[in-house]
């Protein structure tokens, strides 16, 4: 099984979900879209929670699809341990001990606790562990971090990273938060008004400036990079990617990481300016341009096999007379690079 088939059609009042696509059977597929675009409905269809007219008429309990809910939905009458056992007991094929997943999510210290004594972040971790214990063939995550405040969200995110690297179960991750999507997903599906408007690998899909969803605040690009050097004197790391290299503050311990650069943090020049506070000056080729607003232009840059997206004023565009296929230098302040 290399792909997961997704073919759903559902009418719900005025809203119509019409999805016919397939996603890779490995890694995390992010489903991004505004609220009301049908993200949750799509997950519910996959889980069998919507009355459907599709060929798969199996009830949810026979599908072996794990569902991580927004509000964790732990069973308050059971302890953490019993919650973890709930799905595990009901799957005769679940062979791995629950302690394995409990320690992966670091909830092994909470096993005897009552669910009502858990913090929001702990509850969400237990919820994820509970789904892993049932050893599903596919995991659906419906905005698992959206009910948490920023601090708790940052506490849970590393566990999701871990999930990414330590399990082979494909995950569909729904979110309207571009940061989470950029950090976690490998593959991206963009939903709008019940339809898939774009899909593909995270990097190339995110760099599609023709999509209105990836303009404005969401405009930017993601690079997969490996650390090649660490400068202890200034606490800077040099990351290499296919098409260039970037200095990033800190990150001493990161071997490989995903770097994220917002469109607004890149400026363009015709020549390489040496005497500036900007550490990163990368040669690039203009790949595509699109007017974003009356005053701004989005420019997609090609660097080897990677893309960057830059936002410049239309006046600069005019003054530098930038054209597609021109060679330019992208200037990126190190401190704006996110990881």
């Amino acid at each position: 099984m290399n792909n997961v088939e997704m073919k759903y059609s559902l009418q719900k009042g005025d809203f119509k979900l019409e999805v016919d696509t397939r996603i890779p059977a490995t890694g995390i597929t992010g489903v991004f879209g505004e609220s009301g675009s049908g993200k949750t409905t799509l997950l519910r269809c996959i889980a069998g929670l919507e009355a459907l007219t599709d060929e798969d008429s199996r009830p949810p309990h026979k599908r072996r699809i794990g569902y991580v809910f927004q509000d964790s939905e732990l069973f308050p009458h059971l302890t953490v341990q019993k919650n973890l056992e709930y799905g595990w007991r009901r799957n005769p094929d679940a062979r791995r001990p629950i302690t394995e997943f409990a320690s992966m999510l670091e909830v092994d210290q909470l096993l005897d606790r009552s669910v009502s004594d858990l913090s929001g972040g702990e509850a969400q971790r237990v919820c994820i562990a509970r789904v892993l214990c049932q050893e599903p063939q596919l995991i659906l995550m419906d905005e698992p971090l959206s009910a948490l405040d920023a601090r708790r969200r940052n506490n849970v995110l590393p566990y999701l990273d871990r999930l990414h690297s330590e399990t082979s179960v494909p995950i569909i991750y729904v979110s309207h938060n571009i940061d989470e999507i950029c950090r976690l997903s490998d593959h991206l599906i963009l939903l709008d008004n019940g339809k898939v408007v774009a899909e593909g690998g995270l990097q190339e899909t995110l760099a599609r400036i023709d999509l209105p969803q990836f303009r404005g605040q969401n405009a930017g690009a993601v690079l997969e990079a490996n650390q090649s050097r660490y400068d202890a004197e200034f606490d800077l790391s040099l990351f290499q990617f296919l098409g260039g290299e970037l200095w990033v503050p800190g990150c001493q311990d990161m071997r490989t990481t995903r770097l994220r650069i917002d469109a607004g943090d890149i400026s363009l020049s015709r020549t390489s300016v040496k005497s500036s506070t900007i550490l990163n000056i990368l040669p690039a080729v203009i790949d595509e341009m699109i007017a974003e607003t009356a005053s701004t232009q989005l420019v997609r840059l090609r660097l080897g096999t990677n893309f960057l997206v830059a936002r410049i004023t239309r006046r600069s565009l005019h003054e530098l007379n930038l054209q597609v296929d021109d060679n330019v230098f992208a200037q990126i302040k190190s401190v704006t690079v996110r990881y």
């Binding site: 599908r63 072996r64 049932q134």
Partner: protein, 220 residues
Amino acid sequence: MDIGPLWLSLQLAFVTTLVLIILGTPLAWWLSQSRSRWQSVIQAIVAMPIVLPPTVLGFYLLVVLGPAGVIGSWWVKLTGNTLTFSFAGLVIASCIYSLPFAVQPMQNAFESLSSSKLEAAWTLGASKLDAFFSVVVPLSLRGFVSATVLAFAHTLGEFGVVLMVGGNIPGESRVVSIAIYEHVETLNFAAAHQLSLVLILFAFFILFGMFLVNRRWQPR
């Protein structure tokens, strides 16, 4: 003390409550989940014993359960006995009379349960029946306690329906409320006092116990 009617009342209340919990649970569940337009109709029918005078209820039950009635004649054929003026007839009458007191607390409990909890159970591999017993029932225990207590207490206190359907046959249909009525009619106030006091104390303690349990048990 006149212990016979008291004992009969307890038996009647026990059997009625048992039947109501068993039959009322699926009914309450359906009422809590259904979006059918029949839902309101059924809900209204279930609630009717609250507002109808017991005599009206008793009168129709007498007609239906009597030897010439739809159910009564069938019962005579089946058992050889009449359903009216018998313990079995009383159980049927009590079940209808106390139905809303059992169904409504359960329905409220089911409705307050978030549907996502149930969906979580399904996606974790629980069938609908499994999820009902492993998630819905434990999370609705307060509703079940209220339903049990109210149905039991309400059956214990019924009078009008019993008088119409059951009459006043010792050991068969002479329940405590009928006995009290008869003691008053015959001016035997001492006996009436005794039985009434027992009922008052019972009503207080059973309700007190229910509220105490409900206060302690506050699963979210």
